[in-house]
């Protein structure tokens, strides 16, 4: 479903700020799976999502989604295959447009924007049902500018928008990190429901060890631009929050070696 083949990305190459964000990541994600990605700060987990969504060109490697090699596709062309929710709860919706207009734009995901009136043939009753499902009373606010809503409400609507046309791949980039605990819980609940409904293959980056241990059927830990740990199935479900914290301690210890020392030690012992 999703294939990454030796994907490399270095930001600001040749400068003092050089960051090797992805150092040859190879990954295959099965259709219908729910992968949780964790990692230390700067480990490349967000860069991984950026690479898949096309936020920047790669230095090397290939990416394919649902059989399409999308490596050279610009960001907007990938949208019909990839639904996205960002960390910033305000990044996924256009504040000056109404809730209905935002949903209408999302319902035409990846299609040419025509000269037909946007609201012509808008499926308002379907949207109302979807909004009611969130449980925040949003079903009566279709014609309010979305900028009037709270972060949690807007993030919930962004989730609806990301799954509305059922793109095969759903990417969530720490989408509850900026929300208060109650909203975060609500959004996570909605996330699980929508993933079940849309059957999207999901990749979720998170900082929450609780989410990482309870959600998903596969766990990937990124470290220094590489996949550090990759477990799935029963092995994944055995991992508790404490195990994941221990994993982080281990990764931080690993941090103390520079690349060359690391490679030398690895060659000796591994």
């Amino acid at each position: 479903m999703l294939r990454l083949d030796a994907v490399r990305k270095t930001f600001n190459p040749g400068t003092a700020n050089e960051v090797r964000a992805l150092g040859g990541v190879t990954l295959e994600i099965a259709e219908g799976s729910f992968t949780v990605v964790i990692g230390t700060n700067g480990s490349g987990k967000s860069t991984l999502q950026g690479a898949i969504s096309g936020a920047f060109p790669l230095d090397g490697g290939r990416i394919s989604v649902a059989g399409h090699d999308i490596t050279a596709w610009p960001e907007h062309r990938r949208a019909h295959l990839v639904g996205r929710v960002f960390q910033d709860p305000f990044a996924g919706t256009a504040p000056e447009l109404t809730v209905a207009e935002n949903l209408a734009l999302a319902s035409k995901r990846g299609r040419m924007r025509s000269l037909a009136p946007l609201m012509l043939g808008a499926n308002r009753s379907q949207w109302r049902d979807l909004l009611a499902q969130i449980g925040l009373g949003l079903e009566n606010r279709l014609d309010d500018p979305i900028g009037l809503l709270s972060g949690g409400q807007r993030q919930s609507i962004t989730l609806l928008m990301a799954t509305l046309t059922k793109p095969p791949l759903l990417m969530l980039d720490e989408h509850t990190a900026a929300l208060d605990p109650r909203s975060a819980e609500l959004v996570i609940g909605l996330t699980e429901r929508l993933i079940t409904q849309s059957k999207a293959t999901t990749m979720m980056v998170t900082h929450s060890m609780q989410q990482a241990s309870t959600l998903g059927d596969r766990l990937i830990a990124m470290h220094r631009g590489r996949v550090y740990l990759d477990v799935s199935g029963a092995e994944k479900s055995r991992l508790g929050e404490a195990d994941l914290l221990a994993l982080f301690t281990q990764m931080r210890r690993d941090d103390r070696f520079d690349d060359r020392a690391c490679d030398a030690v690895r060659r000796l012992y591994a």
Partner: protein, 314 residues
């Protein structure tokens, strides 16, 4: 009364300019200075084609189309080469100065042929003769005809623009200015939206230039100076008039009202002894004040409230 008719007619022509600036400034948040070049470009192309014997409708449409092209160039420079939008506009505006001189062949080109204003002008003359009685005043037929034509064109464009902004494409354009990242995530190239939007904006600006030169009977290389500031003044004034920044219909109507009102204020000020040469200075000051004042007033109110010991709103 004659002054009112003539002034409102010019105001309505400048409303078309304000629509263009509304698109670039309010929808995209780009103060697109290309307008200072595309306004006279529309005039130059129209004057040239009229002189070469083309009919007014073709000459006007061609003027608007050339302006649109200029906007597309600005949008292309901005999005393709990642050059600051203002700088892209300055480059195109400067280049257009030479283009306009080339098109006209001189720095000033009079229009002697019939214009887009002629049919209604003739109709008014046919009905009332040289002067039209309005509320007891005798108004020259030319001013009445000009007002009718300008009003008709401004109204049609306002309606079309409002409808357009509610289409899929128009809404996508609004979303581009509002949250470009979201629109890309939804599968639309925001670069393309900006190129098309600036093209459309400058087509409207050039159309205003074309109408303006037909109204006053000549095109001039200098006629674009400060056009963008006038457009901004109209849009900002209109925004205060309608009070609602989110509604598209009100925004467009506000731009129209702002342009007419501003023109009227200018006419009154000149009547009262303002030097016409000082006009651009005053327009610039008005725009600055209109942008700065709302925030300042709020600060002041907060500070005063605090002084009185009340809790200032966060």
């Amino acid at each position: 009364m004659s002054l009112v008719f003539a002034t409102v007619a010019i105001g309505l022509v400048f409303a078309v300019l304000a629509f263009g600036v509304y698109l670039s400034f309010r929808v995209y948040q780009i103060p697109d200075i290309t307008a200072d070049g595309s306004f006279p470009l529309g005039a130059a192309v129209t004057a040239r084609l009229l002189k070469d014997g083309y009919d007014p409708a073709t000459a006007t449409a061609a003027g608007a189309a050339c302006g649109g092209l200029a906007g597309v160039v600005t949008g292309f420079i901005h999005t393709r080469f990642k050059i600051n939008a203002l700088l892209s506009g300055i480059l195109v505006m400067t280049a257009l100065y030479s283009v306009n001189l080339r098109v006209m062949g001189a720095s000033n080109l009079p229009i002697t042929a019939g214009t887009l204003f002629s049919p209604l002008d003739r109709a008014v003359r046919g009905m009332w003769g040289g002067e039209v009685p309005v509320l007891g005043y005798a108004v020259p037929a030319a001013d009445v005809g000009a007002l009718a034509t300008a009003g008709l064109i401004a109204a049609v464009i306002a309606v079309v623009l409002i409808l357009f902004l509610k289409t899929e494409l128009g809404t996508a354009m609004r979303a581009t200015g509002d949250n470009a990242r979201m629109l890309r995530a939804l599968g639309t190239s925001t670069d393309r939206m900006i190129v098309v939007g600036l093209g459309l904006s400058n087509a409207l600006v050039a159309l205003a230039g074309s109408l303006f030169c037909q109204m006053q009977g000549f095109a001039d290389a200098q006629m674009g100076i400060g056009v963008i500031v006038f457009g901004l003044a109209s849009v900002i004034l209109g925004q205060t008039l309608v009070g609602n920044v989110r509604s598209v219909s009100l925004g467009v109507l506000g731009a129209l009202m702002g342009a007419v009102l501003f023109r009227l204020l200018v006419a009154i000020a000149i009547r009262m002894g303002l030097e016409a040469n000082d006009l651009k200075l005053i327009t610039a000051v008005v725009v600055l004040a209109a942008i700065v004042a709302p925030g300042r007033l709020k600060d002041l109110a907060t500070r005063r409230a605090r002084k009185r010991g009340a809790h200032a709103p966060a």
